[in-house]
Amino acid sequence: MSTKLIYFAWVRERIGKPEEDVDLPAGIETVADLLRWLKSRGEEYENALQYPDVIRVAINQEHVGHREKIEGAREIALFPPMTGG
């Protein structure tokens, strides 16, 4: 099943694209697993996700923690801490 990944702010700039569809390999169960796998996909991902702890994540447009299961997620967004308001 294909999952849509969306990136914002410096995560988007460093990865070099605003979004992509990926087929997650077996064994990727949590947000932390996803970040670890993405980081291994190339220099731009390594650069964006160097400090995974600071990356905020939303599944289907709701904030989640890194231990959240990603099964059934249609849309997963990765972004830095927010600075609106």
């Binding site: 939303a58 904030h63 967004a77 927010m82 609106g84 308001g85």
Partner: protein, 159 residues
């Protein structure tokens, strides 16, 4: 009082008129005794900035602000609540965000507006990038620990 008020949430590129938003909320009503507004403006940081560029997550921005507004409406007896957040390029002196909270008495309106802003800062999916006045490449504004702490203080015991 939960569910008593339907918050009006707008995410838009265009500017807003603070007086018109207050008037719109109070129009035709005689039960409102207090209206508190907060507006956030773009600063130039002593002339260093020419603009802020606000990126947002369309869809989630509306949804998340809606969740925060619904929580405020559940916690305080509000008679009206409007939240507007702009995106795109915003020049110093221009509006960025507006919260208007209306209630019978002032305390609920003050607290709800304060709560809304603390949560917007740390949970609404917006990111500010600086455009520098000297033309050099500006960076992304860094999130402040103080903003997270400001949101934390609204947590109820046991959460």
């Amino acid at each position: 009082m939960a569910g008593a008020v339907v918050p009006a949430i707008r995410i838009q590129r265009e500017d807003f008129d603070v007086a018109a938003e207050i008037a719109g909320l109070a129009k035709g009503r005689t039960d409102i005794g207090a209206v508190v507004t907060f507006s956030g403006l773009c600063r130039d940081e002593q002339g260093a900035l020419s603009a802020l560029e606000l990126e947002h997550y369309p869809g989630m921005a509306e949804a998340e602000i809606g969740r925060i507004a619904a929580e405020a409406a559940g916690r305080w007896p509000l008679q009206g609540l409007t939240v507007i957040h702009r995106h795109g390029k915003i020049a110093p002196g221009e509006n960025i965000v507006l919260v208007v909270a209306a209630s019978s008495h002032r305390q609920a309106a003050f607290e709800a507006a304060n709560f809304l802003m603390d949560y917007l800062k740390s949970r609404a999916p917006f990111w500010k990038k600086e455009h520098r006045a000297d033309g050099s490449e500006g960076g992304w504004v860094e999130a402040k620990e103080a903003d997270d702490q400001a949101a934390e203080r609204w947590k109820k015991q046991g959460e």
